[in-house]
Subunit: 338 residues, 2 copies
């Protein structure tokens, strides 16, 4: 471990941190790291059914974190919760783009209005806080060039992408104009333990992992040649930790992408091999998904690497192995209600 | 007049058109053109105090348009009003960036949520409609290079800019994914008759014109060297007319800027000369305005010119002259309530 990387980990000892979406996939993984680093951890989660919050995600650290069940849309609650925090990892969101097309208003309330309201709460009650926002590569829409860096235009292809873009712009605005320090990490496809795998409306990777474990058939749309990059959840958590400790990140957006892009079909083949179960079948694109498909996408994270030293450490093969092992041991907790 | 320009004007004869913000500055000017072209014109306006809607703006065409007073936030009303329209010029908005910083939620509701809701109404009740949205150069924030073309990143520096960006993205999304044809015109500083000049929270140009006419002192912030481009309102209306008749605009954004940029101080000097009254004084930047100031800005409209043939026709000197004459004749109507 280099001196710089020791320093950002030391930063969290005794630090008063809040994680919104703290019982969700990335939030709860981040919480585990924060607990290990000795932070004072407050997890806020709305526990909206089907969104990803899961009490089992923090069952093993329950005594070492404070949990506050509340929706980020609850302005009064948020105004109280932000007050004594030094750092907010702002991960709460509606993350299904399929759902966002069916119910755009709920997506707007959570991903856009609630973000504005949380930043207002910070400005009024805790202007010294720093916020790290979970952005998404979806704001780019269909890429014009690959890999995609932060100079690429924002052109969302779904309602969720529009609202996430607005939520991100609020963070940058509050940082650059109102002095509430904030940055955004535009994550690509994150995968790993603690991800929602109960339904398939939150991206395909978790769903594919479940199918492989169950020995089921995995459907690949079209010819499966489109490329994606994947970030293992511990690498994503490390990205948040580095950004939260780095003043050079304030007011900026950063891509946080995977080591190397891979095609859908190679991904599925690797997954089946790692799991030792499952099968693959090519099927035509369902129209609802094809309309908002963006072709190949993978991102250039060199701006973030240059600013914080972050690099993904977990290879896809290793990450898939750890993920499959996790769900094999804990599957029932991810198939039950909520 | 070229053949192409005759054609887009013919397009409006008998055409069922709706203008949101139709009693406002640009909306009512557009309404005058539409009436002249023989369109079936429905003007919708919320008449929110201090926003710009003014019954006097359409007093001379009152018998030739249908007026429906309703807020774009009223989903039920909008769902009915959009039904039989072939074209919607969507100009309703909260346009004060100062107000947007003081009350971000109202700005969000009008510029973001109501836009989504109007597009949903179109998708459900009138998917064959075409929508032309009044975007703004504010979405660009502080420019990285001049002139600014549509390849420039969107980086709003105020809440209004964030919400206008989201409102615009919705239009492009509904056009590119849901088939409700829509485009956005990113207008720079528009000026001319019928603009709100009652207060100074909607941009400086109208306010400066009022001060010049009243023989008052015009304050220029800093050294007044920052550049802006200005579009006379009839040129802006012509841009909307061309976009509304042009299938090549669907799903796209276009800058709509002025003939030539001019510095604040040269603008004020020209205005005082044209008006024959008023004086200029340099003052330091007020902190509230400096925080969201963007330096020099002027835009490159060549994409729009290439697509529609539009070019500004009215020089700044001529436009200022016509504007000063208009307010000298009608000033009381612009100082009274609403």
């Amino acid at each position: 471990m280099t001196e710089a990387s020791v320093r950002y980990r030391d930063f969290y000892r005794g630090r008063r941190v809040m994680v919104t979406g703290g019982l969700g996939f990335i939030g709860s993984s981040l919480a585990h790291h924060l607990v290990d680093l000795g932070a004072d951890v407050l997890l806020v989660d709305g526990m909206i059914p089907d969104y990803g919050g899961n009490l089992f995600n923090i069952a093993d650290i329950e005594g070492r974190v404070r949990v506050n069940i509340s929706d980020v849309r609850n302005d009064a609650a948020m105004a109280v919760l932000v007050r004594d925090r030094e750092l907010i990892f702002n991960l709460a969101g509606q993350v299904s783009h399929i759902d966002s097309m069916r119910d755009p208003y709920t997506d707007l309330d959570i991903n856009c209005r609630a973000q504005l309201s949380m930043l207002e709460a910070c400005r009024r009650h805790n202007p010294a806080v720093r916020v790290v926002f979970a952005g998404t590569r979806q704001v780019y829409g269909r890429p014009e060039r690959l890999p995609v860096d932060e100079r690429h235009l924002v052109r969302p292809m779904d309602v969720n992408g529009v609202n996430k873009a607005a939520g991100e712009y609020y963070h940058l605005l509050y940082s650059n104009v109102f002095g509430v320090r904030a940055c955004s990490l535009r994550l690509t496809n994150v995968y790993g333990p603690r991800q929602l795998i109960k339904h398939n409306r939150q991206g395909f990777i978790g769903w594919f992992i479940r199918l492989a474990i169950e020995g089921a058939e995995i459907q690949v749309y079209g010819d499966g040649t489109q490329m994606r990059d994947f970030v293992f959840v511990d690498d994503a958590a490390d990205a948040f930790l580095r950004a939260g400790a780095c003043s050079g990140c304030d007011g900026e957006v950063f891509n946080v992408g995977g080591l190397e892009p891979i095609s859908h079909r190679d991904l599925v083949a690797m997954l089946i091999e790692v799991a030792g179960s499952g099968s693959m079948r090519y099927v035509p694109w369902p129209p609802e998904k094809q309309r908002i498909d963006i072709g190949s996408f993978y991102s250039d994270s060199s701006k973030f690497t240059g600013t914080t030293g972050w690099r993904p450490a977990v290879t896809l093969r290793e990450g898939l192995g750890r993920t499959v092992a996790f769900y094999r041991a804990n599957m029932p907790h991810y198939l039950e209600a909520a």
